[in-house]
């Protein structure tokens, strides 16, 4: 019996490693996700940024996708030894020292309320705050771009005040406009495409976040600091 045939006959175990504040699991045959299991904070994200820099240099890496206190690594081909790769990822995490990306400062002018603020009322109901308070708390915050993803140029912004936390919808809005300023769980962001969207809209911004023909297609980058400036408040 060949080695490969013996492997097929063996019981199939799931490959999830969990140790020292991080967890590695596969997505299909070529991708692995490392999730920091600790706090959802800037300290964890700084280590993810450091880990990204290390893993990017591995010869088997096709691409890396930093997420919110997690990192997806996509390999050029199916991992020959997935257990070894998962262990290596955990070791790299343990060695990943915090780095701080010195990003740009981005100011985004927002029209709060109005026709696009389809979920402001629901947010007020949940938080027990008035619409003015919700809006004020949102624009007084300072946010860091933790990662980009979901749609071209979309930045996941960290730093939301827990008072205006609002979980993602179970049934997404079918046609949310590009430019909607949204809250999804403990994150905020600006929709970059018109279409289905599970986040909660409280306002609208005109900023163009992505240009595919540019040498730097995305306006935001991980590490950038973002502030929302109320251009008008329509309540």
């Amino acid at each position: 019996m060949s080695a490969s045939a013996a492997k097929i006959a063996a019981p199939v175990e799931s490959l999830v490693l969990d140790r020292n504040g991080a967890r590695v699991s596969p997505i299909g045959s070529r991708a692995f996700l490392l999730e920091a299991t600790g706090a959802f904070d800037l300290a964890s994200q700084r280590r993810i940024w450091a880990l990204s820099r290390a893993v990017e240099l591995w010869s088997e890496t096709l691409e890396i996708v930093p997420g919110m206190t997690n990192l997806l690594i996509v390999l050029k081909q199916t991992a020959e030894d997935p257990e070894a790769l998962a262990s290596r990822l955990l070791e790299a995490w343990e060695q990943a020292e915090s780095i701080d990306l010195t990003g740009r400062r981005i100011e985004i002018a927002v029209t709060y309320g109005g026709d696009h603020a389809t979920d402001l009322a629901a947010l007020c109901d949940r938080s027990g705050l008035s619409d003015r308070e919700v809006v004020r708390i949102h624009y007084e915050g300072t946010y860091r771009v933790f990662a980009l993803g979901s749609a071209p140029g979309f930045g996941y912004l960290h730093g939301l005040d827990p008072r205006i936390y609002m979980p993602r919808k179970t049934v997404p809005s079918l046609n949310m406009a590009r430019g909607c300023v949204t809250i999804g769980g403990m994150q905020t962001g600006v929709a970059v495409l018109t279409g289905p969207n599970g986040w909660n809209s409280i306002g609208f911004a005109e900023l163009q976040m992505f240009d595919p023909m540019s040498s730097m297609p995305a306006v935001m980058a991980p590490g950038d600091t973002v502030r929302f400036v109320p251009a008008s408040i329509e309540l």
Binding site: I27, L72, V74, L148, A151, P212
Partner: protein
């Protein structure tokens, strides 16, 4: 140059995709059946990832405005050139003015029209694939329309095809050893358990054992499956993370979604499994309304399938060149 004479919606220019930009939210796109794209290009002597037309709505007709060669691979849709039916999965020379016509597929869903030199639309971020969601790449970031004309690229060493053309043994037949045949019409799709598999408790076993149906709400972005809902034992609020095509996510409805070529680059739904890379092309050819079952495999098994597929494509590339060379030498 070619001219589109008739097309349904959602037919696009695709190559092997746009990897490397998931970290700024750009989906990879690319052919839903990359194997068919590679085979078609190999038959013509093109680079295996040259851009082609992905046809998923029919009928489709185009006119060649200059003499060249083309291949139609993927779905068997009774293609004809100048009114003459051609073999499935076949490459042929054409004269200027000839019309290629594709009808409703008898087997599979997506056909690929590869042409010598490839479709020469401007590459965007390293790829000619159409990103319908991002509205860039391919033909002005949109699907093909009647009256569109497309330029063709150059290839340094095209194959000199025999008059009757060249075709390829059906990959499902040639690779029968690594691709199990459907059971009672149910496609077997191999997958590896993913991060939240254990969260589904007893429902996880039902995920593997039951037969799922591909719903009408399925497209290049993802396939929604219909069946007995599966639910995590405790609700989870995940932090957004990168995903790849093939990931099987379970939204609150309990009916899984398989992300496909135009997959979202990030997700937050719990993931129960990930389809292995080498089985994605079979999903790309699966019909809406058809049934599938997931088969749990290991990375080692996935690597074996991947190796066989890579070997097959290489064999097609080398043998087609060898056959064309031999025929020329003997004529």
């Amino acid at each position: 140059m070619i001219e589109i004479i008739q097309t349904g919606p959602f037919n696009t220019v695709q190559d092997l995709g746009r990897p490397g930009f998931r970290n700024i939210g750009v989906t990879t796109s690319g052919a839903m059946d990359p194997l068919a794209l590679k085979i078609g290009n190999s038959l013509l002597g093109n680079e295996s990832g040259a851009a082609a037309l992905e046809i998923q709505t029919y009928p489709f007709k185009l006119r060649f405005s200059k003499a060249t060669a083309f291949a139609v691979t993927g779905a068997d849709c009774g293609a004809s050139i100048g009114g003459r039916t051609i073999q499935p999965c076949c490459a042929l020379s054409v004269e200027a003015g000839q019309v290629l016509e594709l009808g409703q597929p008898r087997v599979g869903t997506r056909a690929y029209i590869c042409i010598t030199g490839g479709i020469d639309v401007a590459p965007v971020m390293g790829s000619r694939s159409t990103s319908l969601r991002g509205a860039f790449g391919g033909r002005e970031g949109r699907h093909l329309m009647t009256g569109d004309t497309l330029q063709l690229g150059e290839v340094s060493n095209p194959l000199n095809l025999p008059a009757a053309g060249l075709s390829v043994v059906d990959p499902t037949y040639a690779l029968a050893e690594v691709y199990p045949a459907p059971q009672d019409g149910v496609l077997l799709v191999r997958a590896i358990p993913a991060g939240e598999h254990a969260l589904f408790g007893a429902d996880a076993e039902r995920f593997w054992s039951q037969t799922w149906k591909i719903s009408t709400q399925s497209d290049r972005t993802g396939y929604r499956l219909m069946g007995d809902p599966i639910k995590p034992t405790t609700p989870v609020e995940m932090r957004s993370h990168g995903v790849v095509s093939g990931v099987v996510q379970v939204p609150p409805s309990g009916e899984p979604i398989i992300q496909m070529a135009d997959a979202n680059t990030a997700g937050g739904y719990p993931k129960i499994a990930g389809v292995i890379e080498a089985d994605l092309w079979r999903l790309g050819q699966a019909r809406i309304g058809s049934r599938l079952r997931f088969v749990r495999v290991t990375h080692a098994q996935a690597a074996e399938v991947e190796k066989a597929v890579t070997g097959f494509v290489e064999d097609v590339r080398l043998t087609s060149r060898m056959v064309c060379g031999a025929l020329q030498a003997m004529s």
